[in-house]
């Protein structure tokens, strides 16, 4: 597990050293909720993601790591390419704790900005992402709405995803519906603080399996050359679940956090 983050950092530094240039940024102020902004045409950026996912019924620590290269194609359209890793340490039996680190695949992201959150009545964007790995692949679409009123930034996403899990005997399909709602206040230029709410629903074979809810603080900081954002999301009692307990702990964890760090090329 410990090898993943240094590897991601080393790759990010390698990218940066190969591609020097003017400073451009695509600041994000939330880590789960997307905003409608896209990189200007020709601008490039590297983003490193770390998502710790901690706590199930037994000991469980997972890190999802992503390294992203973004480029603005036009002033309204950007694309990005991701490399994804996962590292898990968990109790698999009494007195047996195992750690596994694996390369989990690649992703391609496309985002189209239709309206601006300051200049227009509301910001509006469309987002699509395709991910593929050795065990599954996924298609995801997002509707992005955001609005900035003075120093207050509001954003909401409706996310629809379809995942195909490649089992030896058959391919299992599941659908996901997620609603992300966020608000942040610019305490001073470049520094924002707020909250994120994440509602994740899973539909398996046409059955609504669960509706997990997460809520917590988010902080963003941006300065010349780089920006970072961090969210800490404890899981709240689920809106819908089966079995004992109030939280969804088979597909989710007691606590999620996400750290984004990005620099301009």
């Amino acid at each position: 597990m410990s090898a993943v983050r240094p590897l991601a950092a080393a790759l990010a530094v390698a990218f940066a050293s190969l591609l020097p240039g003017a400073a451009d940024a695509n600041e994000r102020h939330f880590t789960y909720t997307y905003e409608s902004a896209v990189l200007p045409a020709g601008a490039k950026e590297i983003e490193a993601w770390t998502t710790p996912r901690i706590g199930k019924e037994d000991y469980f620590v997972r890190f999802d790591e992503r390294l992203e290269f973004e480029v603005g194609l036009t002033d309204q359209l950007m694309t990005a390419f991701y490399l994804n890793w996962t590292a898990v340490t968990a109790d698999v039996a009494p007195d047996t704790r195992e750690s596994v680190t694996e390369f989990s695949g690649v992703s391609s992201e496309w985002k189209l900005k239709l309206m601006d959150p300051v200049a227009d009545a509301v910001g509006l964007g469309l987002y699509g992402e395709l991910s593929g790995g050795t065990e599954d692949y996924e298609a995801e679409a997002k509707l992005i709405i955001d609005k900035q009123v003075g120093d207050l930034l509001l954003a909401g996403n409706l996310v629809l995803a379809n995942e195909w899990e490649l089992e030896p005997a058959e391919t299992e399909t599941e659908q996901e519906v997620e609603i992300d709602l966020s608000a942040a206040y610019f305490i001073r230029p470049g520094f924002s603080a707020g909250v994120e709410l994440r509602n994740h629903n899973e539909i398996l074979e046409g059955e609504w399996e669960h509706s997990a809810l997460f809520f917590g603080p988010v902080f963003g900081y941006a300065t010349d050359g780089w920006w970072a954002a961090v969210t800490i999301l404890p899981q709240l009692p689920a809106l819908k679940k089966e079995g004992d307990g109030s939280r969804v702990l088979d597909d989710h964890e007691k606590l999620e956090a996400r750290i984004l760090f990005s620099f301009h090329l």
Binding site: K147, V149, L153
Partner: protein
């Protein structure tokens, strides 16, 4: 279940409707008249182009600052700093400067001499 979502959506809608994009105003005849006192060849179309460039090139890197949040005279120095990052050519920078200066002046009043 969706009560909090409805409240947030309602807040978003009210905020959107109350603002209506006025933070980055569209050029009017008053803007053109004011601009011509300094740049006689200014037209409504050139101010529109300046606004369009400002929205497209600057919002990709940071949330837009409404023109009136800066004193009219300050926009020139800010654009000197930001134009290379926004990949604005000299003529594009000039269009953005005219728009931002005039939009700020119209709301805040002319800069002191």
């Amino acid at each position: 279940m969706f009560t909090s979502h409805r409240l947030f959506a309602a807040a978003l809608l009210v905020a959107a409707l109350s603002c209506g994009g006025g933070a980055v105003p569209r050029p009017t005849d008053a803007h053109v008249a004011r601009a011509r006192t300094r740049w006689p060849d200014t037209t409504r179309a050139s101010l529109e182009r300046g606004r369009e460039l400002y929205v497209a090139r600057c919002s990709g890197c940071h949330p837009l600052h409404p023109p009136s949040t800066q004193a009219p005279a300050r926009w020139a120095a800010l654009l000197d700093q930001m134009a290379p990052r926004a990949r604005l050519t000299a003529s594009e920078r000039d269009l953005v400067l005219r728009y931002l200066t005039v939009a700020s002046e119209t709301e805040r009043g002319p800069a002191p001499e």
